[in-house]
Symmetry: C2
Subunit: 318 residues, 2 copies
Amino acid sequence: MQYQTLLKTELHDVKDLMLRAINQIPSEISQAISQLVNRGGKQLRPSLVLLSCNVCNAPADKALYAAAAVEMLHTATLIHDDLIDNASTRRGTNTLNAVYSTAATVLSGDITFAIAARFAALSDNVMLVKKFAQTLEKICQGELNQMLNGHNSIPTVSEYFRRIEAKTASLFSLCTESGAILAGCSSKESDNAREFGYNLGLAFQIADDVLDFMGTENRLGKPVGGDLKEGLITLPVLHYYQEHLNDPRINAILEKQGQPEDIRTLVADLRNSDAADWSMQQANLLVEKALNLLKTNPATPYRHAMEEIARFAVQRSF
Amino acid sequence: MQYQTLLKTELHDVKDLMLRAINQIPSEISQAISQLVNRGGKQLRPSLVLLSCNVCNAPADKALYAAAAVEMLHTATLIHDDLIDNASTRRGTNTLNAVYSTAATVLSGDITFAIAARFAALSDNVMLVKKFAQTLEKICQGELNQMLNGHNSIPTVSEYFRRIEAKTASLFSLCTESGAILAGCSSKESDNAREFGYNLGLAFQIADDVLDFMGTENRLGKPVGGDLKEGLITLPVLHYYQEHLNDPRINAILEKQGQPEDIRTLVADLRNSDAADWSMQQANLLVEKALNLLKTNPATPYRHAMEEIARFAVQRSF
């Protein structure tokens, strides 16, 4: 991918910052978190931070800290999410909770949050720290809402979008807005940058939800049908359900009672339906909206790399 | 207590800030966290922040945010600690993990961290946010160290002090230094203020460790002998052990194999030994050191309230 070439040095520096901080953690846990960071192949979130900083001419050292903060925050949420979902595989390797106790996994996530907060503070920008904290709050709110209310009934499309906004679009918005914040751009520029990340984040999550049944375990680094197993009704499943009302498998899944056979056959039926195509149409519309928001920026390699990421978000197989 | 009268309005405002933020959390969890905050009777940490801000003439609105940040951070660590220790009672009521799932408890702690980070950012002081993040990192480091290495052998006295520094003194230092940070005091003044909190924090934790077997469940709001049950060898137990080498009950406790009867008899024997007196001598020396550090400050009601807290730390029964 072009953005990885363009940002090669900076992405290397960001990873170096993260790994050095993780190295301070007591040894066993340190290795496990390093592995998780090292296997985060796409590095989309730190790349979006770095691109947005380059577009706005934000100070280079602050950009590195902001990128590291966002990636550490994302890593921390993955550690706690996997514990909460009892997931055993992430990025093609064991989750922390699969290897360590609940106690050690909780603390590993907490210390990763702490490192993220330190990096955010090292950006020396109070506004960025505020947005950073608000984003973490929003992510947790979304997860708690889903946990407390999400498993009783099929969500509406609007509930689905509220959920993925909290889960993914909020952090993507922070990534793409961070350059404008660090460079002190106008509020119009900040709004545009944030909106770009927001639409991109929604599209990215829809594509992720489609990959849950269209992808392969090998490419995804986690089992196929994981969302269904977790009782998560995503946009493609919602669409499928509207055309197959009262499918007993979906009701079973909603109550986390889905049997492996139910999930296997539902994955097959979803693959044979128009659920993926219909959902990807929605994702593509969001990407178009995102790309339009970039048009006011000068046509630099950084803008082109952002466009590349936006297209990749909906064309990827992992 | 005099400090509570002196800070009545400010402590009320701090609690109001916290409860309004907690109110945004999905309802069930919101109530549980509010209860935890409402039952935090002593409010020592936010009081130390407010006193240090008053001593240094830090801006009043920033002081409220810093105090709320510290108390929310403390609350978040209590939520995760109780989950980790599988504790069922805190502040005289059920812990979150006793009522809710592991997943909901992890997220409750996370969202409380997020609110704490937002309050820290609202202090509009990047240095404070950095120290805040470093403190969280230190607390987590300490807990991970204890978890990974703490249960194999009797700790040395120096290991004990390293542990309580991370667990308690680091946050107390942040509290007492925050006024100097927010007011932009000289580094000499900052150092003094931090050292005061550091010594006070160590003394406070030693007294806490003594209360674990000298206190009553009714006054403590949690069961007597909780540390022993958890396999935690504290200063008084270390002292007792040096005089009763190879007491099989202590070895059993170290491996978390202590039976209720072992814990009951050991509590009785500790109460009859000089373990409490000897440990409180150490705590008193630390308080003296802390009080000496205050002598350069003008003799205002705020300094007197700090002195009162320092004395209370080692004279309390709860």
